[in-house]
Symmetry: C2
Subunit: 339 residues, 2 copies
DNA sequence: GTGAAAGCGCTAACAG
DNA sequence: CTGTTAGCGCTTTCAC
């Protein structure tokens, strides 16, 4: 055994066993915290582990346990989007933060267009124990089928939750949008308009219906609705169309901050000012809004928390713990200077 | 062998061998593209692989090859920073995009403060073949020592590159800042000031020295320098201090966009306007600047490309290909409305 | 060119 | 409680 100990390479379980004068099985038990090991032996083994600075080999462990201790995070292809949307970074952060305290590893996969097939192969190839799919804005659940083979948790409500068997965590878009519109009304604005998000995305749909619902609740109505694609330019366009209608507008609810910022410029172009002439409230609370002039009143969504929950959920699923199918997170109105 | 084929589980190399009527060794050779396999046999095997939808088991492969085919991406702890700095998201994206075409997997590790020890353990525990460390703004290379044991590539020049043996890719901060200041001068501004970044971070240092150097080149000088910490509020503070000096200023170069945006508000507070009274140019070209009013003239740094290069570098290092120690990326002046 | 055999480091029955 | 015995799925000499 002396020969083995002298090896400068990474220490193996066997070396620890030799060092501690026990069998590999015992070392394995200690490493895995098995209860059936006498305290003293455990101590000896622990010492040997420390001394040798032993770290279990993941590959070997995976091979036999059929578990990879890895979780994939699939981010939609649209390279540009990941780059422009601070939301993703926040979610990833939440996930990583949660996983930090577990034995799981986070494998990032950014879908590069046509490589979707490759991604599937990877996910189904036994490379990970579970997958997290962020489809927040798109509601695209083309990975739904995967969940039959692999635990999958989505970020954002599926567009069509057929079967209702998808696990996901989402933000309460409807309620959040309601508080936004309520705020506008509470501050005395009555001629409201909205820049809605794409109507094929859950957040787009929910935030718009909340607009109408809240108006209705106060005996108001509005057909001043223009749709954008969540980008700043689209927000500006939508605002111009709204203004072009010639009807009076004193408050606008934009389905996200980026579009709200776009609206700012259109409003200024028209010689109007925020919030004196038109109050604006957005949704998301990303840095587009917080650093704008004037700082944007908006609805904050707990992105980091969302990531954390997704991670918690997938781990629970992997380890066969009971997990709620859907988790809905609350939003919070952040009042700044635009409304 | 019939029994084995009927298994619904993941197909193994052995099953493919049986299906193709060859030995496992041969299948392995085909899978790994070994040249010494007759074309016809290779075809048969390929067919079997297709038919069974075989995907090699990573763990098993790693176990014997001593390679994990995984690369870690270590992002500094400061949770807030990752969230606020679009730069990170872009770099991660670049890395993921490059790796997409390789057989490597990206393991994201966000350092949660004290867990640094855990991270080291993970990196040294043979879990990855190499590591990418993003220390862009901080220049913190506390992982330098690791590179003696594991291939490591840094994002951003080390604060002190002792030994000069660190591999890293960086952006040409000095040259970039020069173009910014040149632009200011070219547009007729002569009373220049700068909001510098922290002087314990390479970008902070380089961008400031470029400011002085460019001024000098044109026979100008300026002691109108205030330091910020790269955040919007710090930019506002710095601008106020600059203004409070009472000396005339008609152009300011901010070491990054976030501080430039902060400066905007301080300038407005003072009843001045951008760019009429004071021209402003930033650095980074993130969405803080592009969506501001007026849109910020700035120096774009190729963040995605930086990630791509880092990935390329680490893979090269892992596979023992000759790799340049340092890669410096060029920047580009983006002229918008603020200067 | 192709097959046989020997593990890689670890866990999991199964005996004692 | 602890040791023995088999492999997990794959690569890789070493013969043929």
């Amino acid at each position: 055994m002396a020969e083995k100990l002298r090896s400068g390479a990474m220490p193996t379980l066997e070396m620890v066993a030799a060092q501690a004068g026990v069998s590999r099985a015992t070392v394995s038990r200690v490493v895995n915290g098995s209860p059936k090991v006498s305290a003293d032996v455990a101590t000896i083994v622990q010492a040997a582990i420390e001394e040798l600075n032993y770290v279990p080999n993941r590959a070997a462990r995976s091979l036999v346990s059929r578990k990879t201790q890895a979780i994939a995070m699939v981010v939609p292809e649209s390279a540009a989007k990941v780059f422009d949307d601070p939301f993703f970074a926040a979610v990833v952060q939440g996930v990583a933060l949660y996983l930090e305290d577990t034995d799981y590893t986070l494998n990032m996969i950014i879908e590069s267009g046509a490589a979707s097939h490759k991604t599937r192969r990877y996910l189904l190839g036994g490379n990970v124990d579970g997958a997290l799919v962020v489809s927040h804005h798109t509601g695209d659940h083309s990975y739904s089928e995967l969940s039959r083979t692999l635990p999958v948790v989505f970020g954002g409500r599926p567009l069509s939750d057929v079967g209702g068997d998808n696990y996901y965590v989402d933000v309460d878009n409807f309620a959040g949008a309601c508080t936004a519109v309520e705020h506008l009304i509470a501050s005395g604005r009555t001629k409201l308009a909205t820049i809605a998000g794409p109507q094929d995305m859950p957040p787009g749909v929910d935030r718009l219906s909340a607009f109408h619902a809240t108006l209705g609740k106060h005996g108001l109505t509005s057909d001043l609705v223009e749709v954008g694609d969540f980008s700043p330019p689209s927000g500006a366009e939508a605002m111009r169309r709204l203004l072009a209608r010639g009807e009076p507008i004193d408050g606008i609810f934009a389905a996200n901050d980026q579009m709200a910022i776009g609206a700012y410029s259109a409003i200024r172009e028209a010689g109007l000012s925020v919030p004196a002439d038109i109050a604006v409230v957005g949704f998301d609370d990303d840095n587009y809004g917080s650093t704008a002039t004037p700082p944007l009143t908006t609805v904050r969504q707990p992105s980091v928390e969302m990531g954390r929950r997704m991670a918690e959920m997938i781990v629970g699923l992997i380890e066969n713990r009971p997990v709620d199918t859907v988790t809905t997170l609350d939003t919070e109105l952040v009042i700044r200077d635009s409304a």
